[in-house]
Symmetry: C2
Subunit: 555 residues, 2 copies
């Protein structure tokens, strides 16, 4: 059955393999939430499927269930009241281990076929998933659909493709024949078995519960490992829907569904007990650096793939498209109220201003024009609500208040709370823009997650490039940007990013934004600076999740 799934999905896999080889534009799943693509009834069906979860118990039939847990708080202010099964951690681990050997026996092609089948099914649930992502994370609808469903599925398929490629290099068997001069050769048969490392834990984040979870989940699963998904306590529903679909697909294909389970942890101690269990051999984590470092220090039995905090930055040296540059940056800062791990936090501007197609612009003019660009973008409420979404965390609300208070930088543009008639209890906030000097490192040199951005006054372009490099090396970053009309500056910044190992976007002025990465083409994170120790996705992301155990004997 699993082999037939491999054959059935062979064309898509081949396309994915070609995409990771060439890394051009290739979307496996359509990003338009359109009935023409997903079926006439898909939008309504998905909405109803989402609504059917609300106020109910989300059954998963997992082992060791000890109770139920609810508590998700929607940034849109709507009631969710979904209850999730709480299961004994040891029971989930034991059940995953139990399921592992049959999963190994299915082989690389069998696992790959089932993984792609799971992704196809998740794709058909895209509207349901999008509503779940939107209501738990606060993302606007379009982002929730795209990042929550097709783009997340793309990233999952990307991981499956890398996992397949690496596993398919391992020959199932070989004959080793060593000549012995005039004597008969020594001949051995060797068999090579691909074996998963062991139980994988994937810890999700509050803002991208599918996009940041699927790569690790599918990389671990495709390489032969049981997976325990530990979602953020405020974004359980998208993970629960995903896990249920995975379990159904596994069961229908003769695999013990307990290979993949959901771990809803009532407290941090439960999570810590889970990740420190000797049976846990890999951990994928998206979240803050403090817990990431704790994992690194305390879970030495496991491989850790971590995406952590950072200070993303953009250097502005010069431009021949001033207005377009401002519009582009304004959109980046506004999108999902800056709650992306890729959002720019520090914009480094020469103290003497910059040359533009509209003449020289002083540092103060740049600050003012960027504030105006943000206000212009968000002028119409329907646009503002669509772009901003809602603020996910009370911590972010506190950071916004702090920014508006003027104690951590001069307020160029204060964040404003917007009233959304559709969601009267939601938290809608425009970006805060702050100004400071390069010397004010305490202000801009730590991550202030959310819609808070600094325009940092730096001596000159060379100092800005050097500062960018130092920020990335010491604080980490997933994205860096540059605006310049000078090839020399572009080269200098390029070399700086080689040293600090951060992806660089140059002169973005149209429909591509520094905070967006495209699956199969852009590497998300380099794995080479403090913001992440791994990249989504590359060979290193999958190659160490399985091991090869050989058997040899004479024939």
């Amino acid at each position: 059955m699993s082999t037939s799934l491999f054959e059935q999905h062979r064309a898509r896999l081949d396309s994915a393999l070609e995409a990771i080889r060439t890394r051009g534009y290739w979307p496996a799943y359509n990003e338009m939430p359109s009935p023409k693509v997903y079926g006439e009834t898909a939008p309504d069906d998905g909405k109803r499927a989402f609504e059917a979860h609300l106020g109910k118990q989300f059954t998963l039939d997992q082992p060791g269930q000890t109770g139920w847990h609810a508590g998700e708080r929607s940034p849109y202010g709507v009631k969710l009241d979904v209850e999730y099964p709480v299961c004994d951690v040891a029971a989930l681990i034991a059940a995953g281990q139990q399921a592992m050997s049959a999963w190994q026996a299915v082989g690389c092609e069998g696992r790959t076929g089932i993984c792609v089948e799971i992704l196809e099914r998740l794709n058909r649930q895209s509207f349901e998933l999008a509503h779940a992502v939107m209501m738990t994370t606060g993302q606007g609808w379009m982002m929730a659909f795209q990042a929550g469903a097709p783009h997340a599925q793309d990233r999952g398929l990307e991981a499956v493709a890398y996992a397949y490629r690496e596993q398919s290099f391992i020959p199932a068997e070989t004959t080793w024949e060593k000549p012995q001069g005039k004597n008969p050769p020594l001949v051995m048969k060797k068999r090579f078995e691909v074996v998963g490392r062991g139980v994988a834990v994937v810890i999700g984040c509050a803002t991208f519960p599918t996009w940041n979870t699927y790569p690790g989940l599918f990389a671990a699963l495709a390489t032969g490992n049981p997976v325990i998904v530990k979602p953020h306590p405020n974004a359980i529903l998208p993970a629960a829907i995903s896990v249920r679909t995975i379990r159904q697909t596994l069961a229908e294909n003769g695999i013990d569904p307990n290979l993949v389970t959901l771990c809803v942890a009532r407290d941090n101690e439960t999570t810590q007990r889970l990740v420190r269990d000797p049976a846990v051999r890999s951990i994928d984590f998206t979240g803050g650096s403090a817990f990431g470092q704790w994992l690194d220090q305390n879970c030495r039995q496991a491989q850790l793939y971590a995406e952590l905090s950072g200070v993303n930055n953009v250097v502005i040296d010069s431009t021949d498209a001033y207005k377009a540059m401002m519009r582009n940056i304004a959109f980046t800062l506004s999108l999902y109220s800056g709650q992306m791990c890729t959002t720019t936090q520090a914009i480094l501007v020469p103290a003497g201003g910059i040359a533009t197609d509209e003449g020289h612009k002083s540092y103060d003019e740049i600050c003012a024009d960027l504030a105006r660009a943000i206000e212009g973008l968000l002028g119409k409420p329907e646009v503002a609500f669509a772009v901003l979404g809602a603020v996910q965390s009370p911590d972010t609300l506190r950071r916004i208040d702090l920014a508006n208070g003027g104690t951590i930088g001069r307020v160029v543009l204060a964040s404003r709370k917007l009233d959304n008639p559709d969601f009267p209890n939601g938290e809608f906030h425009t970006p805060a823009l702050l100004a400071c000097d390069a010397a004010d490192e305490a202000f801009y040199m730590e991550e202030r997650f959310g819609p808070i951005t600094y325009v940092v006054k730096v001596a000159d372009t060379a100092a800005a490039v050097a500062l960018s490099e130092r920020i990335v090396n010491t604080r980490g970053a997933l994205t860096a940007g540059l605006y310049s009309t000078s090839q020399q500056v572009i080269d200098a910044m390029t070399h700086a990013t080689w040293r600090s190992k951060v992806a660089l976007s140059v002169n973005l002025t149209s429909g591509v934004f520094v905070n967006q990465t495209s699956a199969f083409s852009d590497y998300h994170g380099t794995g080479g600076n403090p913001a992440a120790n791994a990249s989504l996705a590359d060979s290193a992301f999958v190659a160490n999740r399985f091991r090869v155990v050989q058997l040899r004997y004479h024939v």
Copy 2:
């Protein structure tokens, strides 16, 4: 120049790539120390080249030299008195970093061509290297030649092939073109730069100073990193010769030779300062588990590839070739006086004895017959000296005394010291064979490096297989063996090794031994049990030694 080297060595690289894909028998470098292969004058030239180092200062022209250091003690009892440059650790690190960007600029093909060229030159120095390995490690001549030169070069080339394959997947650039309905598409050019992680440290061991050093050295070098080779204080010469050749080859190809340096550390503090330096981003280590765990805990800034202690074991269930089995095991235990990380330490035998082609053999008969097989093998002095080599470490001599004392197991065969007229001051010792019960875990459950082996009495075959699995899971192992005529037992042991992740050799009775692995075919270590966290060599061994930094812009 480097591109022409790539073209020049293209055929060999292609063969290596084919070999790692199919993993059959393929030696890149000839293992016979024959004038017909290496040239009529090669043996004499090599010996003279080796002798020319003795009693001299080994100049390397490295930065930050503060003095000279000697102190190698030959297990053959000959005087070496080579002095090596001692260099300031910070100077070596800074020089490596300085050399890195030009090495990056050469690109994957350029680096690959130079790495293969280095290996070709090392191959031409095989006799010189073999003498250096023999006299520092105590290996017998044939092993010193094979493992010290061609087999080590094979492992180096294997790492280069894996590194090339993974790097060659990264497209230098791509065009990303996203349709926009009726509007013109979004078009971006993306460039992908392969960037090494940073300074690599490769820590050698006392027994295989080239074989265990070349994989990490060439994996790190080929992926764009500077490398500092830190040899064991008693086996510096083979590393020094290798580093000199590497530096010469680099310089001749326009690369700063300080890309690769030798770090001779007078004390542990120097080594610790080296590996904890924030600039050090990867560490390859072969040695004891205690320092391996220290590295793991204290060098969190670096990727660690470690081969550590273990308890290799063989289960004997039954055989249809009793004498050949005994001969095979006897050779394994005798070769290089058991000073291999792959030598069997525990032979697990059912208490009720086993069925053989010579009828039933009791546990006691097996002990006695194995002792006889060892004595038979080593009966002729010239064979004994060739097979045993000399004992490298005073610690191993102490362990031999302990074994002979009878306090850590019943002495079946005591180790004997042999007098070698060619090397009157050398340390030549036959294997000690001890017997104990499975319950005597304190005896056999820790690594006793050297010629000390236990025949462990286990309740039955099933208990032996289970014990083997537990030993591997808890103490680690690089090798496991099985003798059985029952497919059911072979399957049970095979499944056990899948769970404990150790390579299994079944029914070895001729010219292949459980402690030998063949480059390009056998994975050395699985990386999945406590004896090693990485395998030599696979994709995981290379894929995380470089990162990809992208640059994107509109066109």
